[in-house]
């Protein structure tokens, strides 16, 4: 149990269940949200661009976290489910559906496809399931590349018009920031609350011991499928936002490597906590950005390996960070944050 602030007692059941337990936290939340949505008016496009990519990654990572962190099922197909969402949005918008309707529909379509590839989880688990989702990661991009080129655009993919809301056109980093961050906030809220419902507890029970959970009356198959649906639903939303953000999608954008990166985000951030994906996605994206910034400086130091430096640093740093986290902090940044909070509250008594 986390250590609470002094003087913070449960005085009612509602209070016991509350996420925000005192006025201070309310104030902090409001300040944070105001700050979050005021940012586009002060920050430059480069920062906002990074934040937008982080936002989209957070949504996909949240979904993966529900499957991986809460239910204990490995998925190597998150990027493919994002592709489903992205293509759904692109095709719907091509036929004149407004983005604001296409967004939730993309989530649902993504979820249904995710469900389809989750079906084998009835019989298989653990590593084998990873393989089933790996086949999704190969088959789905193949589908968009080859089937009904007239609708899905084949290998060159599709171009998407920017979404509009009345006079407002969402075609810059500043404008795209709002729909992305709004979705992130809603998704985070939902993800946080899923863990606190019967559904969330059932998923955790399955993760910890599926047979025991079954004996307790938790229908494993149905709950696993729900987890798959929610996970792919999130991916669908992320894909949909990605489509209007990138404005041009093709199957090569949703590769196995992307799926691995999302897994990495969840691991680094910390599985099984709503904070984890946020920290993980931010950390990995910022790290990625910093390696890109750092590479030229390093190539100047080692001019003979200059070209290689640029190429090698990205995978090298990502792989190393992931490996270090797995060895030294498998519970991720979120756990560190909890420890930090506890230490702060206990100060000056360390133990």
């Amino acid at each position: 149990m986390a250590i609470r602030l002094a003087g913070d007692f449960d005085i009612s059941y509602a209070h016991d269940m509350a996420i925000l337990r005192n006025h201070g936290q309310w104030v902090m939340l409001i300040v944070f949200l105001t700050g979050l949505f005021a940012l586009p008016f002060v920050a430059d496009g480069k920062t906002l661009g990074l934040l937008n990519i982080i936002g989209i990654s957070i949504i996909a990572a949240h979904g993966l976290n529900i499957l991986l962190g809460y239910t204990g099922q490995i998925s190597l197909g998150q990027a493919a489910f994002m592709a489903v969402g992205a293509y759904t949005t692109a095709v719907l918008m091509k036929y004149g559906v407004a983005f604001w309707f296409a967004l939730p529909i993309s989530g649902v379509v993504g979820g249904i496809i995710g469900l389809l590839f989750g079906l084998p989880s009835l019989r298989i688990k653990g590593f084998y399931l990873a393989m089933a989702t790996l086949s999704a990661q190969i088959i789905i991009p193949w589908f968009f590349r080859n089937v009904r080129v007239d609708i899905f655009g084949g290998t060159p993919g599709l171009t998407i018009a920017p979404p509009r809301l009345g006079e407002l056109v969402f075609n810059t980093q500043e404008t795209m920031y709002f729909p992305i961050m709004l979705t992130v906030v809603v998704c985070t809220l939902v993800a946080k609350n899923i863990a606190r419902t019967r559904l969330g507890r059932a998923l955790i029970a399955i993760r910890d011991n599926d047979l025991a959970a079954e004996v307790l009356g938790i229908e494993q198959f149905s709950y696993k499928l729900r987890a798959f649906f929610i996970s792919a639903f999130y991916a669908g939303l992320a894909g949909s936002l990605w489509a209007v953000y990138a404005r041009s999608i093709n199957p090569e954008q949703f590769s196995l490597l992307n799926s691995v990166w999302y897994l990495g985000m969840v691991i680094v951030g910390g599985m099984g906590s709503a904070l984890g994906p946020i920290l993980g996605a931010s950390f990995i994206r910022i790290l990625e950005e910093s390696t890109v910034q750092l590479a030229p400086a390093l190539s100047k130091m080692f001019p003979q390996a200059a070209a290689g430096m640029l190429a090698a640093l990205g995978p090298l740093v990502f792989g190393l960070v992931l490996a270090l986290f797995l060895i030294f902090e498998p519970r991720g940044l979120a756990h560190r944050w909890e420890l930090l909070k506890a230490a702060w509250r206990l100060r000056p008594f360390a133990h």
Binding site: L68, I74, F127, N146, L316, L322
Partner: protein
């Protein structure tokens, strides 16, 4: 349908399947010993090819000598990987090891580029480029010889596991880690050995492939084809790896080659056939053809 080419495609698929089997063998060896599925097998393979190239290019060694030296290095590399990356994860959930091998694949990618550059190179040919013509069937000599080498490797490993002390120890450890430990086998050492052997297998495979298609970064992608193979054969079975690899090779070649309609051919069906097949296998026989059924107790 190109039925007249059926024997041709069957034979080509069989030979390509030999390569897939060899990669699958590496995966099975590690999984059998330590319950780790090695997603980095493809990158070990690529690294082996690059190291061999480096010896021939920079030291001017004969390609066979370079090959042997690369195998020697591969033993060290495999052992090192186990010691540094996987050993700390013993006892962690399966996810941790899966992620670790994925992380490893990225590190190896980076290291390879940094050490050798991302350029495409070519090895001196191990075998000449010429056809073998058997009636209507035309085969690539280098692929056929690679196939023979792969099969030879299998025989060596089957004998190794059946008759040598180390092989028997590895089988014992695969059965039950604690039990093996209690009869005096050093399980960590066995893990190290499994990784070293798998890394050797990867290098052999990498050099055989590089001989066919060149030394380049895309070599690592071929391991993706071996995944359906191992699943079909069963993760714990060495004969399964052969059967799985050959099946995937044949399937890919037949599905890719037989349809004649241009519209159908444009779908590039051969590319996804192994994965659709994998889904079907997962659905009907999740433990694979020769895999062990695990009975779980609470």
């Amino acid at each position: 349908m190109n039925w007249d080419l059926f024997p041709q495609f069957l034979a080509t698929g069989l030979l390509t399947g030999g390569i897939y089997s060899l990669i699958a063998l590496g995966l099975v060896l590690i999984y059998k010993a330590s319950r780790v599925f090695n997603f980095a097998q493809g990158h070990l393979l690529m690294l082996g090819a690059f190291i061999t190239w480096w010896f021939t290019e920079n030291l001017g060694w004969d390609v066979w000598l370079a090959f042997a030296a690369a195998i020697g290095l591969a033993i060290i590399a495999g052992w090192l990987v186990e010691r540094v990356a996987l050993r700390p994860l013993i006892g962690q959930p399966i996810l941790a090891t899966v992620m670790m091998t994925l992380a490893l694949s990225q590190v190896l990618q980076g290291v390879t580029i940094l050490a050798f550059g991302a350029y495409q190179r070519s090895l001196p040919y191990l075998f000449p480029i010429q056809p073998i013509v058997l009636g209507d069937i035309r085969l690539k000599l280098n692929l056929a010889l690679a196939f023979v080498l792969a099969m030879l490797g299998f025989i060596i490993f089957v004998l190794f596991f059946r008759f040598t002390r180390a092989g028997l120890a590895m089988r014992a450890a695969a059965e039950d880690h604690q039990l093996a430990q209690s009869v005096g086998l050093s399980v960590p050492r066995i893990f190290g050995m499994a990784w070293a052997i798998a890394s050797v297998v990867a290098t052999v495979c990498g050099v055989l492939l590089a001989n066919i298609s060149g030394v380049e970064l895309t070599l690592s992608l071929i391991a993706l084809k071996a995944f359906p193979a191992v699943l079909f054969g069963g993760l714990e079975s060495i004969p399964g790896a052969i059967v799985g690899g050959l099946t995937v090779g044949i399937l890919e070649s037949l599905v890719g080659g037989l349809p004649q309609d241009p519209a159908l051919r444009a779908l590039h069906l051969g590319d996804i056939a192994p994965y659709v097949f994998m889904l079907i296998v997962l659905w009907f026989r999740p433990d694979g053809l020769f895999g062990l059924k695990r009975i779980e107790r609470i």
